[in-house]
Amino acid sequence: MINRRDLFLAAGAAAGAATVLTALPAMAEEAADLPRREVELVAPPFVHPHEQATRRGAEVVAFTMTIIEKEQVIDDDGTKIHVFTYNGSIPGPLMVVHEGDYLELTLVNPPTNAFDHNIDFHASTGALGGGALTHINPGEEVTLRFKATRAGVFIYHCAPEGPMIPWHVALGMNGAVLVLPRDGLTDGSGKPLRYDRVYYVGEQDFYVPRDADGAYKTYASAADSFVDMTALMRGLIPTHVVFNGAVGALTEKNALPAKVGETVLIIHSSAMRDTRPHLIGGHGDYVWLMGKFANPPMRDLETWIVPGGSAVAALYTFRQPGVYAYLNHNLIEAVFLGATAHFRVEGKWNDDLMTQVRRPGPIG
């Protein structure tokens, strides 16, 4: 049996083949002459420091990610599954570049891992999003460079072969890239939009098989879970829908801090399932529906949609202090399956925006 990877390797080896997917570019590559900047990645919900608008010319922005296979607790009951991660986190880190920059990623698959992996960047052009050029076995590494030709938020994910594709993504191998316009974000009519904080929320569906008594099963290895888990996945009903890898990863003591008057950019990605973020007690002042900045943002949204396989950016300026739940407004998924975050907002209450005219008390 010849799989797609073998095919690519064979094609690459065939001298003079008309259409080959190899690292050899058909057009001259400009990146070699550009300045090169290495950026250290930060685990979500946080994002590495970056300029919102830049006067610099195009450059090569270089990142390194190590693939980590590990066990992770995904809910308050201590349910533990074997997950696959980019750089140890679910979702993988947000990588920020500007339109016209070259994003260069060195992907490392340590020999301690058991599986082969790759990466498909929705922000890139060609070669299955780079998936065809980045397939690495345990003990290998690869470097891919692509030109960020479109501004927006885009997901990346692992896409090895056949059933491995949804399984690797359902085990956590997805993240996002933020390609900012060089002049920064605008409202669509030229007014610049800036943010004081940026948070990256990655929504993740998990499918944990149960035993005859209904208790979640544990497995000695990821491979041992494959048959049961993929059978469950075919039913399309997740056992967990969580933000950032586990129930409670962004609530309570992990709440996202902000202050009244601050503008927050919320990046929300979902690799497979459609979702509908909502900020309880707030709004989306500007939402780039579908997540691409060449399109003007929509205004004043109550709830927005993230199609599975994409990321969306929403900008909001907090106007009241207190606790805000930011959730998937399928409230069944938010409350029972885990898709909830908290913002903890400091500041002075604005009675003009809201007042309790009369306290709760007896009728009459």
Binding site: A255, A325, L331, F336, L337, H342, R344, W349, P360
Partner: protein, 290 residues
């Protein structure tokens, strides 16, 4: 009323039960063949500082419930351990309690969890009838008295005219509380308190009979009742909260802010009677059963 309130004290909560009210471990009661005898701790009458459960307001502002000196008037027997899974299973076998998932009839050393107030009450009524003794759920203040130095209640929240500050302070207090693991622990795991009562404020929150109340505190410190809702009962454990009476698992999933109880269980109390009176009562119950 088993308690008399002696007026408002300025000090904030802490439920410092007077240890002069020393506990006496009572002999096991005589019980009919179908129920196990209970180990009980007898709480002696005493005075303590108690912060009542419910929402309190003063001059139109939400305030912490004012703590007040409270007196236990008569000796009270409290189960040393919460009701076990094996005990609950006997109530199920007697068709007096609903069957619950995860209850192991052989688990005499594990608390029953995943029980609603309705089921806890059904158990209390069955157990009282089976033993001929006046077993019932404790009130919130009885639970607080029995918990003594293990009582947590509610964290003090800074008052102010900005309600968002109270809200954030409560959120922070909840967030600072470590989540406990869900698996019920064998009796004794969380130890005895100074009154000889075991496993208080561990990973099981316990139902009380106290209803949700809203009260307004006037200038004299009197807390006037505004409304009461008995479909919602006070739960005690690592922190106090109110819960609808039909809920078996209080996990919120983190949607709204607020720390959920890890497990819901219960223990019962009864008025203390002398050993002789207890013996006669037990014999009476046996005769009635025949």
């Amino acid at each position: 009323m088993r308690f008399s309130h002696l007026g408002v004290v300025a000090a904030v909560l802490a439920a410092t039960a007077s240890l002069a009210a020393a506990a006496v471990l009572a002999p096991r009661s005589v019980a009919p063949a179908n129920v196990a005898p209970e180990s009980v701790a007898t709480l002696q009458p005493g005075r303590f500082s108690y912060q009542p459960a419910g929402d309190f307001e003063s001059a139109g502002q939400t305030i912490d419930a004012p703590a007040r000196a409270t007196q236990l008037d008569a000796p009270l027997d409290v189960m040393v351990e919460p009701v076990s899974q094996a005990e609950y299973a006997r109530c199920v076998a007697a068709a007096a309690c609903p069957k619950l998932k995860g209850v192991d009839p052989a688990a005499a050393n594990l608390p029953v969890v995943g029980v609603s107030w309705l089921e806890a009450t059904a158990y209390a009524e069955w157990y009282a009838a089976a033993t001929g003794e006046d077993w019932r759920l404790p009130t919130d203040e009885e639970w607080a008295y029995a918990a003594a130095e293990r009582f947590h209640g509610e964290p003090p929240i800074a008052s102010g005219d900005d309600f968002a500050r109270r809200w954030l302070a409560k959120f922070d207090a909840d967030a600072a509380t470590a989540r406990q693991s869900k698996a019920p622990k064998p009796f004794g795991h969380f130890g005895l308190n100074a009154l000889g009562v075991a496993d208080l404020s561990g990973n099981v929150w316990e139902w009380t009979n106290s209803c949700y109340e809203r009260r307004a505190v006037d200038a004299n410190g009197d807390a006037r009742l505004l409304t009461r809702n008995c479909r919602v009962r006070a739960l005690e454990g690592e922190h106090r909260m109110f819960m609808s009476d039909f809920i078996r698992d209080g996990v919120t999933g983190g949607c709204s802010a607020g720390l959920p109880p890890t497990n819901l269980g219960f223990r019962l109390v009864r008025a203390h009677a002398s050993a002789v009176a207890r013996m006669l009562s037990g014999v009476g119950a046996l005769l009635a059963a025949l």
